[in-house]
Symmetry: C2
Subunit: 343 residues, 2 copies
DNA sequence: CTGAAAGCGCTAACAC
DNA sequence: GTGTTAGCGCTTTCAG
């Protein structure tokens, strides 16, 4: 075999580089430098001469070099990755939560791995496993409605991976949680009803086994305190809410209270079906993320439980944990009354 | 230094393992096996004896071993990761698209990295870079409304990383795209209006610079073919749609056509404000993802442009590319008319 | 049936 | 100012 002229070797090298991904090694070979010099040059390390830095960065740019995140993470054992578990992303509460978390992640140079459980514990478990395999730095989790075994989550904590539960949180009080202020929201709504001198309210709640339902109902009850006639109904879906509302309208209530957006959507359909004018014929007030109430005219008055704000809070709580805070806490976002024209 | 009894060594080893993450090395040391044997045992390799397999898997389970995804990916140079770029996840079209893609990813053992651009080209660029660093296997991309430079995307293709554009796609026809059938949808809506013998329609479109607007308008115009009186209006937001609709109602149209959910939401607010009964006083028909139309009574008749279906289509298109198909194509999802009671 | 060894791409302590 | 070296955790020939 004859020795090939250097020029040809260089060309071959160049071709190889173009074909595959650029690596430090390839850059170093092309420049006749060591890998570490190239690495440092790219990081603008003070040890490296300006001349070398220039040569390196120019070639790196020309070859569109991007560091291999897997290699960096493996080496530094820092992943800058958060996991985020939701029942589904296709939901106007969760999607705004996700939007907020993603925004913050980008600002803080974290990546986000978003996983859907479909509200199934088996998939939830799979997803937690995936998170562990990816060596996430922390997890934002909304448990499924049937989750009983918290062990997989607690194990993460054991591995020094903070878990911030949001929205649907376990009762266990050794966990970090961020929630909407269920009790306060319901209280504000109830007080608004009383202040407006309403006399006969139909209060629509969700599945009565859900803790969110229990909390909101309890607070609502206390605030109303039997001062006015109240009919409490439980709907498991938007369709059921519509049906129950339609039935309850026979008794001519003067106010409809809806504990959530799903319920509100059903209730408003019933109101439209009955051709009632809001607020003349009937007043409406809801607890809501804010999107649905603004679809109607007049806009529905609601107590805001913002997924977006909750996301921001969850993120800051996560950062606090990562910064070493071992103080387990349950945080809530402030509830504010957003006035529409429906009461 | 004295040699320590084996029992103590084992205990120390065990402690170390508990403190940190379990690795193949640690398992192999505890069992007196080589790393490769442990690796193979865990993969149920036929070479390994059942006895060894049992010992290994038992310890691995006890220690909650999960393979380090970064190491696996680095070693195998297979990431099983897709990137997904959207303006925002907090949108009822994109969130259902994402839900569909995520579902399929899970089934096919892929992970998904979801990034929001906030409709800003600068962030879009950052996100593409992130994708490259993570050595994604493919990208689902919805470009920002101001994206002019397609080069970053084309470079991915150069690296054998397929890019499937969806929803907001570039004009360039060397790209793989999946879209809703804009023209067909608008045609179906127009024909439905004609078939119902409507005479005076107000057609509400979005920003007239958007290609989606142009396509839908052109097809709508052709289908209507000046057979009936048509007023075309352009709204840049839900609020503007409401305002324009309110003004247009003065002329007593018998039908409202809305080219999208954002427009529909505004138009319906105007209808409610004017206390018009649908469909007695006015008919309504829309192009929609399906969520908003079902909030009203009667439900709005719409031509479905499903984000969910688009997601499924995008995924299968991605898999085709990965399987080696170099056939660049623009796919569309079928448009179906979903009948409500609004026309 | 099991082990040794190389190497994926990168960082960082240590040498010179 | 630059190079050498070891090693992150894993897979996978190749030997035995």
């Amino acid at each position: 075999m004859f020795a090939k002229p250097i020029a040809v070797n260089k060309l071959i090298l160049q071709l190889i580089v173009i074909m595959n991904n650029t690596t430090l090694k390839k850059i170093s070979e092309m420049l006749g430098l060591s890998i570490s010099t190239v690495s440092r040059a790219l990081k603008n390390h003070p040890d490296i001469s300006d001349k070398t830095k220039l040569r390196v960065t120019e070639l790196a740019n020309a070859l569109d070099y991007e560091p291999n995140a897997n290699a960096v993470h493996l080496r530094t054992s820092k992943n800058n990755l958060f996991g985020l578990l939701v029942p589904t992303v296709a939901n106007f509460f969760y999607d705004s939560f996700i939007a907020a978390v993603e925004e913050e992640c980008r600002k803080s140079n974290y990546s986000l791995m978003i996983l859907q459980s479909g509200d199934e514990p088996a998939i939830e478990l799979e997803n937690i496993k995936l998170c562990r395999q990816n060596r996430i730095s922390g997890l934002f989790a909304c448990i499924t409605s049937q989750t009983v075994d918290l062990d997989p989550y607690l194990k993460l904590n054991g591995l020094d991976i903070p878990v911030i539960f949001f929205d649907k949180v376990p009762d266990d009080n050794t966990c970090n949680k961020v929630c909407v202020a269920d009790a306060v929201s319901a209280t504000i709504a109830a007080n608004t009803i009383l202040k407006n001198k309403k006399k006969k309210v139909v209060a629509l709640f969700g599945n009565r086994n859900l803790s969110i339902t229990k909390k909101r109902l309890a607070a609502f009850d206390i605030a109303i305190n039997r001062k006015i006639k109240t009919t409490v109904l439980y709907a498991n879906s938007t369709a059921e809410a519509e049906e129950l509302t339609t039935q309850s309208l026979i008794e001519n209530p003067d106010t409809l209270f809806c504990m959530s957006d799903e319920i509100l959507a059903g209730a408003m359909k019933a109101v439209q079906r009955a051709r009632l004018l809001v607020p003349k014929d009937i007043s409406v007030i809801s607890i809501s993320n804010g999107f649905i109430p603004k679809l109607y005219f007049p806009e529905i008055t609601y107590v805001e439980t913002s997924g977006y704000k909750l996301g921001k809070l969850a993120f800051s709580s996560m950062m606090a944990c990562l910064a070493g805070s071992t103080f387990v806490q349950e945080l809530t976002i402030e509830s504010v009354l957003v006035k529409g024209g429906s009461i």
